[in-house]
């Protein structure tokens, strides 16, 4: 049984457009998988549904055996606390320094400030940004900002880490660098799912690839 399972998931938008068509796939605990496909293939929609940021039209999404599409608001919030997320535009808060940005999920979790400090510094040193903890995001390079985003995603030590085009704005060397970070988190047991249209980059990583095209899985996991 996979840690993450999609069973016949379809997403049709109000416009009638089907972004995902009857997707069935599973991802084992501790695995690292790349989700690829051309722009518009449905990668972001896939991750959004997994985070329940949008509703499925049909089908089920099980995480650790629980159908997350049926969760009530409060349980859904708690579920999201166990999933780290990284996005292309990293959604850092412009008016908070690096430390406070990374501390946000821990504070949402209601963690004591002393423990927050310890965890944030550990996460920042993992991505090599501890010396910059007091700076505002605007004073960091794009690559550094993306690493802050990753630190924020892993600071709660989530079981699952999702990333949507995490290297979108980065040059090839920095991109490789970021992907290596994901691999390191995977090596300590985190289930990692990275969506990227950069075929060359992900092939160089040597991890399993699931390819989407027009809302269907065309390579990699297929069927149940």
């Amino acid at each position: 049984m996979g840690q993450i399972e999609f069973h016949g998931v379809t997403k049709r938008f109000d416009s009638g457009f089907e972004a995902l068509k009857d997707i069935t796939a599973e991802f084992a605990e501790g695995s690292m998988t790349f989700l690829t496909g051309h722009s518009g293939a449905g990668k972001s929609t896939f991750l959004k549904l997994l985070l329940c940021l949008d509703r499925v039209t049909r089908g089920q999404i099980l995480v650790n055996g629980i159908n997350v599409t049926q969760l009530k608001a409060k349980r859904l919030a708690y579920y999201r606390r166990n999933v780290g997320t990284v996005f292309q535009d990293h959604h850092l808060l412009a008016h908070r320094n690096i430390f406070d940005n990374v501390a946000l999920p821990l504070r949402v979790n209601g963690m004591r400030e002393r423990e927050v400090g310890r965890r944030v510094r550990a996460a920042l040193s993992r991505v090599g940004l501890l010396p910059k903890e007091r700076l505002l995001p605007q004073f960091l390079s794009t690559g550094e900002q993306q690493r802050v985003g990753i630190a924020r995603a892993v600071v709660t030590r989530p079981k699952i880490l999702l990333a949507d085009e995490p290297t979108g704005n980065l040059d090839p060397e920095l991109s490789k660098n970021i992907m290596e970070l994901f691999r390191q988190f995977n090596e300590v047991g985190t289930t990692v799912l990275v969506a990227s249209h950069d075929r060359a980059l992900i092939e160089s990583m040597g991890a399993p690839i699931v390819e989407l095209a027009q809302g269907r899985i065309v390579a990699g996991h297929r069927g149940g």
Binding site: S44, K48, L51, L53, A73, K74, A77, Y78, Y79, R80, R81, N82, V83, T85, F87, H91, L93, A94, L104, P105, R107, V108, N109, G110, M111, R112, E113, R152, T156
Partner: protein, 302 residues
């Protein structure tokens, strides 16, 4: 306890945000303050009017004036007739001689009157209605003696205090209506301001939602806003009311003095002030809840 830490941190952040936009915050306070000041000022007025009317014998009555030189027996007959009436509590008769004595004592024209060989003043009586009797009862009592012998004139009086009583009922109703209208106004003002605060922090809210903040956690800073705006509004309202009281103190003292009352404004006490602040804070929180519910429910994260 981390729950307290969270609240403290959010309260501190709210203060920072408010002080960063002090102009707007002050405007909101002023708006909420005015909205609160009007109905609560009316409440004070009503409290004071009620106080006055309960302290004074505000019951209406009627006065009968007799013809000059009317027989004392006729006067007494009318007095007894009224006293027997079921709605009349008591009757006070002023004979012509007593009227003259009063007049001499108060007017300083004693010598002049002594020049007259006849008393020019009429006898009169005043009948006071029983508690609980109504104006039609008084009319009926008046009608029963209007045609009696020697009666020259009949004055059915709504006393001054009866008018005050009526006025205080109008003020009361007006206060309730204005209270509702302006209360809704205060809620809408804070809702709008909180809504703006929410809009200015959408980025943060999106991230919060993404990392698993509950609806309550996302609302919390804005409830602080609402409470803060409402509380400040209550404070402004208290200041406005005390300013009004200072301004009307003199004329009011004169008015009350002419009716033999000392000026003491009832109701503007610590309890009233605390109540005003609490109502302000409460309306603010309600406004914030409305705004948060309306905006946060349909928050698109990505």
């Amino acid at each position: 306890m981390s729950w307290w830490q969270d609240h403290l941190r959010i309260a501190a952040e709210t203060m920072r945000f408010v002080s960063a936009s002090l102009g707007t915050s002050f405007l909101v306070w002023l708006l909420v303050g005015i909205a609160l000041a009007l109905p609560s000022g009316l409440l004070l007025l009503q409290l004071n009017l009620a106080e006055m009317t309960s302290a004074w014998d505000g019951r209406p009555g009627l006065s009968v004036y007799f013809e000059v030189g009317a027989e004392e027996s006729s006067v007494r007959a009318v007095g007894q007739q009224l006293e027997a009436h079921p709605h009349i509590e008591r009757v006070e008769i002023t004979t012509a001689a007593e009227a003259l004595a009063n007049f001499q004592a108060h007017s300083g024209l004693a010598d002049a009157l002594e020049l007259l060989d006849e008393n020019p003043l009429p006898a009169s009586l005043r009948a006071v209605l029983k508690a609980g009797a109504s104006m039609p009862d008084l009319d009926a009592a008046g009608a029963s003696v209007v045609d009696a012998e020697a009666v020259a004139d009949l004055v059915i009086e709504k006393t001054w205090m009866q008018r005050v009583l009526d006025a205080s009922q109008v003020v009361n109703r007006l206060g309730i209506i204005l209270g509702l209208l302006f209360g809704v106004g205060a809620v809408l003002v804070t809702a709008t301001s909180v809504r703006l605060a929410i809009e200015s922090r959408l980025d943060e809210l999106r991230v919060l939602k993404l990392v698993g903040a509950t609806a309550g956690q996302m609302r919390r800073p804005f409830l602080y806003f609402g409470a803060f705006y409402g509380f400040g509004g209550g404070l402004v309202a208290a200041m406005l009311i005390s300013l009004c009281l200072v301004l009307i103190e003199n004329p009011l003292a004169n008015l009350l003095g002419s009716y033999g009352r000392d000026l003491e404004t009832a109701g503007f006490d610590p309890i009233f002030l605390v109540g005003l602040l609490c109502v302000g804070g409460l309306l603010g929180v309600i406004g914030a809840l409305l705004a948060a519910k309306q905006r946060l429910v349909r928050l698109e994260v990505l």
